[in-house]
Symmetry: C2
Subunit: 108 residues, 2 copies
């Protein structure tokens, strides 16, 4: 599995608006094939910064979700970027395991 | 719910050893009350850096897990710290929602 940590800082005072848009993105990803975790959190020390933790079965499922979001109704990547005061900071991950992932038999 | 992003950098070449210790910590947290996510990932750009994404029902469940780990068999916080080349970097989170969290009815 692969993952990403995205840190996004909104224009001053717009953190809650950014979080709301990202929660709508997450809502659409419930049940999307290969999307295991798409967690939206606000930085406790800086409410204008929102962190997204993503886990995907593989890179192709992540790419498929991105392609779907660009063509579907609802917020798309450009809507998110318009709220940011600086480019998002992205950390790519190799996911090794832990609590909160589906088990090998497909049950969470 | 609250969360934390922990970024830990091991001494050079020790990233896999650090990840293995953290996976043992995670193994013990399966089923721990209030532990929703405890995800272990290796940084794709720097294999000596391991990222832990934690989600807890509340601060007290996180504290209870820490207290339990310090007294139980298996790796404890001091074992983890001994592998690091620098102090861990911690980001505290207010978890808002998304994919991979339990739903309100208690089902994942």
């Amino acid at each position: 599995m692969i993952g990403r940590l995205m840190a996004m800082t909104a224009h001053s005072g717009k953190g809650s608006e950014l979080a709301a848009v990202l929660l709508r993105v997450a809502e659409r990803l419930h049940g999307f094939p290969g999307c295991e975790i798409y967690l939206i959190s606000q930085d406790a020390a800086d409410p204008d910064t929102v962190h997204v933790t993503e886990v995907w079965q593989d890179e192709s499922s992540a790419q498929a979700a991105l392609a779907a979001s660009s063509s579907a109704d609802g917020p798309n990547p450009a809507d998110v970027l318009a709220l940011l005061s600086s480019p998002p900071h992205r950390t790519d991950l190799t996911v090794l395991g832990g609590v909160g992932l589906p088990t090998a038999d497909g049950q969470p």
